[in-house]
Symmetry: C2
Subunit: 122 residues, 2 copies
Amino acid sequence: MGDEQGSIERCSFNVVHKDVVELVKKKMPGDECLFDLAELFKVFGDTTRVKILFALFTAEMCVCDITALLGLTQSAVSHQLRVLKQARLVKCRKEGKMVYYSLDDEHVKQIFDQGLAHISHK
Amino acid sequence: MGDEQGSIERCSFNVVHKDVVELVKKKMPGDECLFDLAELFKVFGDTTRVKILFALFTAEMCVCDITALLGLTQSAVSHQLRVLKQARLVKCRKEGKMVYYSLDDEHVKQIFDQGLAHISHK
DNA sequence: CAATCATATGAATACATGCTCATATGTTAT
DNA sequence: ATAACATATGAGCATGTATTCATATGATTG
């Protein structure tokens, strides 16, 4: 309990509302958690990956079909599928030479729906 | 109907499962919508912005307090607040020299909750 | 009006990332 | 085995982006 606290004071290095900052700090999840959350959303933050996930909402697909659907290089699709897999958003199943990808998450659909709701002009 | 379709055929430029691709294509939202969705998630895909949003879940805060909370430059915070505002995720209110930011969205909380649920090892 | 303070903004920089090209891996068929 | 095919992977490149520094804007106070 120093003498430099109170409701309103100087800013810059100090804080205007010390109580608020303390309260907020208490309620915040740990840094690692927030970092992981941002990492997850980073995965959603790319058109190609969003398209792939949306496609997999409808059906399991092989790399070849996804490539044709998106009109991209097979390599590009494969790279992005790896990202999605590392984030545990999709899983794959081998059948001969083909690899079939499908969703591996129950939350993505709801996250996307909420995102779409926001986009639809609020 | 031509003679190059069917269930299984060559890949590369053609498609293995033409029916699946067609079905998926039909069910996919338009390109612009998918782009906007990715743009929205891109905003969530940064630790600083995630922290700011989490902070605002608890309380309205001025730039100064957010800066102190995050231990960043005031400039960095201001830049990110602009991004959040452009995405219509936060709104601001002026009071003298201070600017108070608060949430401007009902979906973010649920999106974050779903994201956290995914992270918590499924 | 001059000084101080809170916030915003522009330029520069450092770093991340998505795509392509080339090639590797692994599977099926001849 | 060899060829054809589906997918994965690594390097390189081009683009995007988060931060910092310096400074501008706008408000309050003396």
